[in-house]
Symmetry: C2
Subunit: 91 residues, 2 copies
Amino acid sequence: MVRTPLTPWERQRGERFGALLRQARGDRSMVEIAAAAGVSAETLRKIETGRAPTPAFFTVSALAAALEVSLDELAAACVQDSDFGDQALSA
Amino acid sequence: MVRTPLTPWERQRGERFGALLRQARGDRSMVEIAAAAGVSAETLRKIETGRAPTPAFFTVSALAAALEVSLDELAAACVQDSDFGDQALSA
DNA sequence: CATGTCCGTGATACTAATACCGGTATAAGA
DNA sequence: TCTTATACCGGTATTAGTATCACGGACATG
């Protein structure tokens, strides 16, 4: 095996991450935010639903800018409630 | 064409991003930082050399945590000197 | 009721990220 | 000199992100 498949923990983290983005989006439409971030609406939808659990850094950066949220807060919020911050280290 | 290939601008942004990470790493070794972040040394090297111009968000997040740098500062630093901050927006 | 629009979704296609392997170069130390 | 450690490079394999296409539901308007 060359590329490690995503662990269940990583997928759960992706779901939490997507939920955070959806919450930050509020009542604004997906296409509006996606257009503002320069990504396709389907990509945003996959990230929000957790079907793209590990999106690209600059994609997240653009979305965070469009949503006016902090990247550090996003990253921290995805790990805080799991209390497994170093799980990736043991893998 | 389904997935848009990386533009030259995106590759240059990746090079700047990698240079920032290398600068933040200082004299510490790649394997040390890579192990602390939970990624392979080859991945870190590719990101630093710009051969992986759009790394995953959580990969960058783990590296930033290992390097003790801010994600927001990293993202901002990659766009500041290019003066094309809204290039992705017009796409 | 028919039609058009907007939004979200599922399926598919294609590119890129990640990891492992081997080889090479350079520098420090025994 | 030989060994060791670090970093760079090329190739390969596999998974995953992203975009385009096509579909269905909601909602308004004719």
